[in-house]
């Protein structure tokens, strides 16, 4: 499914877009005036898009977060920042290519940016391990966070992972320890942290770089304790029940906003970030800049106190 250039529910939109584009070509080639027809088709397209996108199921939204053309972390870094200089390695074991990061400049403002990286084609997917980091990825992230703290640079985290990698090497090198340490230590980093979930936010693999003073989600990203497939495999004993699990887990940006977990939703252009990556990057960048300028007004003590309180209060129970 992920190898097709579009998702099933996108098909009517893609078809109409093609029809409009064909008509344009024809009109230009034959010097025939078709602007009336084109305008009316474009209206139809907008209406169709509105109809489809306002009625997406949670599972369809999860699929959008995994759209084969969706911009990834390095795409956002390229589109949003200048002077990016990538930093490699955890200084213990290896350079995990599923986790990237480095210094970058955001509208003249120096930052440290870190995030999981997925691969576009088959070869890249393997190199990036499908965006699933090993312990060395989490340790590399922490190393970069410490650098940011040392040189007083705000941290921007871009999350896009189907989970931390479940493998033999990952266990041997302490996947659980690496994630736990990151979560704990991020609470005491003396610089502002802005987190954006840009695609998939699966479980501890996401949270392992996910503690922030401001946490935002792109409209069609998801964030939960487990992937819908994983949840379906355990609770329904059938991974094919992922659509049901997605409904039950409530992992969409709207769900997390309602549950009070995130600070804001960054809307996506047109039919999602993949349909207009430059515009998506502009919206993400503006949201980050706004968050950073708010956070900069706080003293370090206020910042850390606020960060602790933000997470201390999460949970719903009867007492």
């Amino acid at each position: 499914m992920t190898d097709r250039p579009y998702l099933e529910f996108e098909r009517p939109i893609i078809e109409l877009e093609k029809k409009i584009s064909d008509m344009r070509d024809f009109s230009a080639g034959e010097s025939i005036e078709l602007s009336g027809e084109i305008t009316s088709l474009e209206k139809k397209l907008n209406k169709l898009r509105q109809e489809i996108y306002s009625n997406l199921t949670r599972w369809q939204r999860v699929q959008l977060s995994r759209h084969p053309k969706r911009p990834y972390t390095l795409d956002y870094i390229r589109m949003m920042t200048t002077d990016f200089i990538e930093i490699h390695g955890d200084r213990y074991f290896a350079d995990d290519k599923a986790m990237v990061g480095g210094f970058a400049t955001l509208e003249g403002r120096p930052i440290m940016v870190v995030g999981q990286q997925k691969g576009r084609d088959t070869k890249q997917k393997v190199i990036r391990n499908f965006g699933m980091a090993h312990p060395e990825g989490y340790r590399k992230a922490l190393r970069l966070f410490r650098l940011a703290e040392k040189f007083e640079l705000p941290i921007v985290v871009l999350i896009d992972t189907p989970g931390a990698f479940p493998g033999i090497g990952a266990e041997e090198r302490g996947q659980a320890e690496a994630i736990a340490r990151n979560i704990r230590d991020m609470f005491r980093l003396k610089v502002p942290i802005v987190v954006v979930i840009i695609g998939e936010g699966a479980s501890g693999g996401a949270l392992g770089i996910g503690i922030g003073d401001v946490v935002m989600m792109l409209e069609y990203s998801w964030y939960s304790v487990i992937s819908p497939e994983g949840c379906a495999a355990i609770l329904w004993r059938d991974a094919a029940k992922a659509p049901e699990a997605a409904e039950a887990l409530k992992p969409t940006s709207d769900d997390l906003m309602k549950l009070g977990i995130i600070d804001s939703i960054i809307p996506e252009p047109d039919s999602g970030a993949h349909s207009n990556p430059e515009e998506a990057a502009r919206l993400v960048k503006n949201a980050i800049l706004e968050a950073l300028s708010d956070l900069q007004k706080l003293s370090i003590d206020e910042l850390l106190e606020r960060r602790l309180k933000k997470y201390r209060k999460i949970g719903e129970y009867n007492e």
């Binding site: 931390a164 990698f165 479940p166 493998g167 033999i168 990952a170 266990e171 041997e172 090198r173 302490g174 996947q175 659980a176 320890e177 994630i179 736990a180 340490r181 979560i183 704990r184 230590d185 609470f187 005491r188 479980s203 501890g204 949270l207 392992g208 996910g210 503690i211 964030y223 939960s224 304790v225 487990i226 994983g230 949840c231 355990i234 609770l235 329904w236 049901e244 699990a245 039950a248 887990l249 409530k250 992992p251 769900d255 997390l256 549950l259 977990i261 960060r307 602790l308 997470y311 201390r312 999460i314 949970g315 719903e316 129970y317 009867n318 007492e319």
Partner: protein, 280 residues
């Protein structure tokens, strides 16, 4: 009699294996059959292979704490159903069933106690309660146990036993990892000791948060530990897992455990450690 009935019906169910109650008990590791009363004296440790059977939290309270006494806190916290979660069962029905099965309101019991006279903030997870899974209540009770350690300036002891975060509370469960770890950062800065005791099994969300953040991390022998479950790893990599993978012994070898401690030595070992780490 129970054992004979079980043997006729094939393997006992997973839950029944947790607390063997029949006259005779079969070790799930080596197959040795031991007289039940004798197992009680042996703290439910197999005399042949040293396999540590899973025991209810009350038994740990008895063997770890002075007079087997825990001044319990936060007993009135019970789970809500923030997602209105339903799979084959509604979440509130699962909670009710777990409460009936365990006689406990939730998956963790916490409070203040003494270990050889040293006052501690103590929490213990109960695997019988939905696999020891961590939802909002477990996270909150652990958080408050950490806060009591900070406020009263006493060491923190947590006995973990958990399959991970509780899926039925979605993102709220995941965030309990953040909440508990945040407070452990404060405890850490106050230089108050935290001993994390891992029992079979401790995995996923609990292992990737407070269970892995002890100043000292110890585990019972042959416990299943780790981030991902063995089945998930097997499916992901498409090959068989090496013998003893993700056991306590494996993690000691890899450098992620300080020690493996027999159940009967737990109290003594904790006391000895606290004498070095806690002299206030």
């Amino acid at each position: 009699m129970a054992w004979f009935r079980k043997s006729k019906q094939g393997l006992p169910t997973h839950e029944k294996r947790n607390i063997p109650e029949g006259l005779w008990t079969k070790c799930e590791s080596c197959g040795e059959i031991v007289y039940g009363k004798k197992m009680e004296d042996l703290l439910w440790v197999c005399p042949t292979c040293n396999f540590h059977f899973r025991i209810p939290s009350q038994k740990y309270i008895n063997l770890l704490l002075d007079d087997g006494y825990l001044e319990e806190y936060d007993t009135n916290l019970t789970s809500a159903d923030p997602l209105k979660f339903k799979d084959s069962k509604k979440y509130p029905d699962r909670i009710k069933a777990a409460q009936q099965k365990t006689g406990k309101p939730e998956g963790v019991t916490a409070g203040m106690a003494r270990i050889n006279g040293i006052e501690v903030s103590f929490a213990i997870m109960n695997f019988q309660f939905i696999g020891g899974s961590m939802g909002s209540v477990v996270g909150e009770k652990i958080a408050r146990a950490i806060e009591r350690a900070i406020e009263c300036e006493v060491p923190l002891i947590i006995v973990s036993c958990s399959g991970g975060a509780r899926m039925q509370e979605g993102i709220l469960s995941l965030m309990q990892m953040a909440k508990t770890s945040a407070l452990l950062a404060i405890l850490h800065e106050k230089r108050i000791p935290y001993i994390s005791i891992l029992t079979n099994p401790t995995t996923a969300g609990v292992m990737a948060s407070y269970a892995s953040l002890g100043d000292i991390i110890m585990a019972e022998p042959k416990a299943l530990l780790g981030f991902a479950g063995p089945r998930v790893i097997q499916q992901t990599i498409g090959q068989d897992l090496p013998e003893g993978f993700q056991s306590s012994e494996f993690f000691l070898e890899k450098g992620f455990l300080d020690m493996i401690v027999d159940r009967k030595e737990l109290r003594k070992t904790v006391t000895k450690l606290l004498k070095y780490m806690w002299r206030r």
